[in-house]
Symmetry: C2
């Protein structure tokens, strides 16, 4: 059905499931669940924020294949909660039904003792594959690849390759066939479509596309996603340092990476949790603990700001009217800095900005900051002039213009500096840039006022 | 090659291209360009921020197919700049070489007069397809779909379907074969892989998967992306209101949508341009014009804050020490509000939060705000106590705790309210939420102080 109806239908389904659960109408619920697409069952499970209910629902899914598919779409918390309560035989069946990358993900989320026990009970070939995958860090090409691909030697004919493909029940992405040499080194690739349109007796080695765009096992998943997107691939092969084909990453996993990384960047930019996935099912205490450290930047910066203010007590006591315009100076600086760093952080993440573009981006941002600073300085300065007196207007206006330029400078350069230092630029944008801007902005504001006061340009008030 | 080398190689290529251009070594440059992947040529062109140089580079790409591929990867500005300077014959050849959705995108970006002239000169079938696509708004399923798909009647045998596929040079995504009835109504789907493993004489109608997950022409592209991702599809079929198959959207276009929408949301959240794509090639003046309106929210809010402060002149004159802690109260409120609204905005965008989850999310955020407010209130209050006196500490601490709760409330409810009103929640997060928080936070802060002062709890200072 058209998908705008899907979300309405989803709300209805969720409500119905809740009612059936409350009434304990398991028969009815089971029938309903087994008519749904596994991805939709998973969505319902995710939105039931109650572990026992989640267990009941997954328990009702008939067939281990479907159950595995539902489980593979859950977030880590629900997944562990539901999976650990399944009977052991069913746990093993689910692990075998999942593709190796999902099995490794699931095992990686479980308590190590328990996971090791399960691995021991898997058939040898599968436990080998999984242990192999567990070696790689989660956010690298190795961590997200699946070893279930289709590779043939260069001498295979197109007809033989097709036959191999028809028999390969396990392979995940059967739209590309990879060609390897005797050592397993990746040599070329053919799409299933190309394979179909070629003379059946030709060796694939003669028709394959080469060299192949590929990822190294240790490549960051963000880079993998960028490349797959840039070259419009349906899957990207993964090679080890000796260029041997060890796995593939399919485009649906790439999409998950792209969405995850965008969410992560947004959360980081607002100072919300960095390492752990910030899920909705997370409790308030855990959420507060994740968010607090970044807010402490504000607190420390704020205390520093307070100290700066005491350095200017004379100026403030002399012209109390200046105090009224401290917030607008801070707000404007904060927003401008956030804009600049958002542009830089996102540009670096999508590859639109490379480190070589830094000069150009910085000069552009400086011009933008100067223009906006002059406009806002004139506006606020005029307001202060009409409201108070010309001198206050002059101080407020000129200090706004200066602090705008400072704000874009900090907003642009902080993430670039972090990128140079191989730190994550996204964590700089929110609290850090804002705090730096608060302190410098306020110092500039009060500094300009004090100078004008010292030069006798600012008459003592009130 | 591994992709971590790709970005280093890219920097080298870019520098080499710049040097060859400066030296006018066109022969050498042409050779180099034609060894590169079109996606990489496009990347180099995008990073050359100089239109004449971009034209020269695209002009050197041999073969209209490759040229079209390079052009289809450019941003709108460079695309129009380069394309309009091509000889007319080449323009038409490029338009014919592009897939219809890219042709429609390109024509949509050109001046209408010029585009209409080109459409007239296209062969009839192609101009029909393109005009058909131009009817749909750019950010809907209709606007991003391509009409080049493979559909067969239900009675076709698997063998016939395979033969049709081998002949279909035009179809974009040949890994799915769609099944339609006599009226063109979408009935089912088969993957190429399934087709290969089935008995050749079976009619596709008996083996197809049905019903098909599909999108309506008028569906928002963000929703299309969500569905394609949720069901791990390589392409999603698009139907008109009569359920007739009119196009497909391939996963590479879905990836572009997901990245675009994430970038757009981030830019919106920091108040940077909304309708127009904020490109790096954009001039400073245009960029400033896009960003200024959102910053004016800060200015207006700031003037309002200034007015609030004048209402509390008595309190401030009595306890000037309070002024020093205005910035930390504002910074903390701003950051907390931004965190809450980021979580809500991103949750709504990815479908992790539905409108039905609002109560739960809100209660969680309230708890988080209260906890963080108490912790930060104690910290800053203690600092104020040690630094000034117990009363200032009391005022600062308690007002921080209260304004934290206000900040999460505003941060959570503003985007939800916008979503309810069918406005874009992303535009609320940056300047709007911050400004609302500044004004209410300051009022709470000074209000609490004034109350304590009135009750005689706050001794007049300094």
């Amino acid at each position: 059905m058209p998908a705008d109806e899907i979300s309405q239908r989803h709300a209805l389904i969720l409500e119905t499931v809740r009612r059936l659960l409350r009434r304990g109408a398991m028969r009815h619920l089971g029938k309903m669940v087994n008519k749904m697409h596994p991805a939709e069952v998973a969505k319902v499970v995710r939105h039931l924020d109650d572990l026992p209910a989640q267990r009941i629902l997954v328990g009702l899914v008939a067939g281990v294949e479907h159950k595995a598919e539902v489980l593979s779409e859950l977030d880590a918390d629900s997944l562990v909660g539901v999976f650990t309560e399944l009977p052991r035989a069913e746990q093993l069946a689910v692990l075998r039904a999942l593709s190796s990358d999902d099995t490794a993900d699931l095992l990686g989320a479980l308590p190590p003792e328990f996971a090791a026990e399960l691995i021991e009970q898997l058939p040898r070939t599968e436990s080998d594959e999984v242990v192999d995958l567990l070696r790689y860090p989660a956010e690298t090409a190795g961590g997200i690849m699946t070893p279930e691909f289709l590779a043939v030697p260069t001498t295979t004919t197109c007809q033989e390759a097709l036959t191999r493909l028809q028999a390969a029940a396990e392979a995940e992405m059967v739209f590309y066939i990879y060609v390897v040499d005797a050592d397993g080194v990746l040599k070329g690739v053919l799409s299933l479509r190309e394979l179909l349109t070629m003379p059946p007796d030709t060796p694939v080695g003669e028709m394959m596309v080469s060299p192949v765009i590929r990822a190294r096992v240790d490549m960051d998943q963000e880079e993998v996603a960028r490349i797959t997107a840039r070259y419009n691939l349906l899957a990207i092969p993964v090679v080890d340092p000796e260029e041997r084909l060890v796995g593939i990453i399919t485009v649906d996993d790439v999409i998950d990476v792209i969405r995850e990384e965008a969410t992560e960047d947004m959360l980081k930019m607002s100072g919300t949790g960095v390492d752990v996935e910030y899920t909705l099912s997370m409790g308030a205490l855990q959420a507060a603990r994740l968010r607090l450290p970044w807010l402490l930047t504000n607190v420390v910066g704020g205390l520093f700001t307070a100290w700066v203010m005491t350095r200017f007590t004379n100026t403030l006591e002399t012209v109390l009217a200046l105090v009224a315009f401290v917030p607008v100076s801070m707000a404007l600086g904060g927003s401008l800095g956030l804009q600049s760093s958002t542009i830089v952080v996102r540009g670096l993440a999508t590859g639109q900005i490379e480190l070589g573009d830094v000069r150009r981006v910085f000069l552009r941002e400086m011009r933008v900051g100067a223009m906006i600073g002059v406009v806002c300085g004139l506006l606020v300065g005029a307001a202060a002039l009409l409201w108070r007196d010309p001198w206050v207007g002059l101080v407020v206006g000129s200090s706004l213009a200066v602090s705008s330029c400072v704000a874009v400078t900090i907003g642009t350069l902080t993430p670039i500096l972090f990128q140079r230092l191989r730190l994550d630029p996204a964590v700089t944008s929110g609290p850090l840039v804002t705090t730096l801007n608060d302190v410098t902005g306020l110092t500039v504001y009060l500094g300009v006022a004090t100078l004008l006061l010292a030069w006798g340009l600012l008459p003592p008030g009130p």
